[in-house]
């Protein structure tokens, strides 16, 4: 059992608190079938021929950073190599700050020998600032709850000079905090509006050997989503398989992790 990174320093009034979905990602990524898949996909031991290039791991929507810190701290256990690079992106600057701390706290715990390399975090809209064809493992725990509307980032928190003051002094209003949290869960129609944008970017963003882990809930209509992914253009054929589930209700999986890759 690999240790779960501590997130006790994270301001949960404006950053998503680790919940069942976060822990399902940890369980799935550390399952024996996924660690076997990943170490085969990104081979590093001489017995398998020359090492493959150092993998780049990108998490979108890092929140507290619990998943990214887990992947960084336990690189050797998860990927059978420690020359992995990890990078996190979130629309919420407070999540970027919190994640940097979560990774820093988690890294020494596991003993430096098994940990990977953390590049940092950046504030951004999904993968818009990511150079095409570079991401080897993409992890996304999206805003998946069906909602009537999509929230937008409070203007003061978008950036520019006031952003600096607001975020440094942590003087957000209650309303701004509520919107930051809403951004972490509100997914619009079928809870899929943000996820659809990410899926559409995958052919561009993933490297040829790239793999994405996407969390879906039952209301997202996961079977239809997987079907659409399998029909995507841009290399391929594309595969989409459920590799982790939790929260069985009357035979339905409440949450699932879909692994997406090119054959």
């Amino acid at each position: 059992m690999l240790s779960t990174p501590s997130t006790s320093h994270v301001p949960y009034e404006r950053v998503y608190e680790p919940a069942e979905d976060s822990f399902l990602l940890l369980d799935t990524l550390s399952s024996s079938s996924e660690t076997a898949f990943l170490s085969q996909r990104f081979p590093s031991t001489p017995a398998q021929g020359p090492s493959s290039p150092a993998p780049l791991i990108l998490e979108i929507g890092i929140g507290s950073g619990v998943v990214l810190a887990f992947l960084t701290a336990h690189a050797q256990a998860l990927f059978a190599r420690r020359d992995i690079l990890t990078l996190g992106i979130d629309i919420n600057r407070f999540a970027c700050v919190a994640t940097a701390q979560t990774v820093a706290k988690a890294r020494p715990q596991s003993g430096s020998s098994g940990a990977g390399y953390f590049l940092g975090t950046a504030q951004g809209d999904l993968t818009s600032a990511v150079r095409p064809g570079q991401v080897d493992v993409l992890v996304f725990n999206p805003p998946y709850v069906p909602t009537a509307e999509l929230p937008s980032l409070p203007p003061r928190l978008l950036g520019g000079d006031t952003d600096d003051k607001v975020t440094r002094e942590k003087k957000t209003t209650y309303k701004e905090d509520s919107t930051l949290l809403a951004l972490s869960y509100a997914g619009g129609r079928d809870g899929m509006e943000i996820t659809e944008r990410l899926i559409a970017a995958l052919p561009d963003i993933l490297s040829n050997r790239g793999v994405a882990y996407l969390l879906l809930c039952a209301q997202n209509k996961p079977d239809e989503v997987k079907g659409r992914i399998r029909g995507m253009k841009g290399g391929g054929p594309w595969r989409a398989e459920t590799v982790g589930t939790s929260g069985k209700q009357a035979g339905w999986e409440k949450l699932q992790i879909v692994r997406i890759w090119r054959e």
Binding site: D83, A100, G120, D125, V130, D164
Partner: protein
């Protein structure tokens, strides 16, 4: 963020994606800090095949580091060159951009970096 990150980012403006000038972003007024990271030779060797060397040379020069050779070393050359290992390690793994701006060479948009975190969110007229 580590300097190496610049090898994996480009301008967030959609119409810039097709331009080669949108990568790498150019640091401006960059305040650098240095972390102590133990040198991992295997990491550097396995980074070589995935780094855009020309972009890295540009970044390195713009940040005031010694000019990198025109061609990347081969894995064997790098393993035998303690100075090159150390230089690349310092540049890629130890150096962080803490404050400053990242500028797109195509549209000129400046992305602020504060306390090590770059902000790639765009004002609504650029989205």
């Amino acid at each position: 963020m580590k300097v190496l990150t610049l090898n994996f980012l480009s301008c967030a403006v959609k119409s810039c994606k097709s331009s080669s000038d949108s990568f790498p972003l150019h640091p401006k007024d960059a305040e650098l800090v240095s972390d102590d990271v133990e040198l991992n030779q295997q990491l550097l060797v396995n980074l070589l095949p995935r780094i855009d060397w020309n972009a890295l040379r540009t970044t390195s020069t713009e940040l005031g580091f010694p000019q990198l050779p025109e061609q990347p070393p081969t894995a064997e050359e790098l393993q035998a060159d303690a100075k090159m290992l150390k230089d690349l390690h310092t540049l890629l793994m130890e150096t962080q951009i803490n404050e400053g701006k990242l500028v797109c060479g195509h549209c000129g948009h400046e992305y602020a970096v504060r306390e090590g975190i770059a902000n790639f969110l765009l004002p609504s007229h650029l989205v």
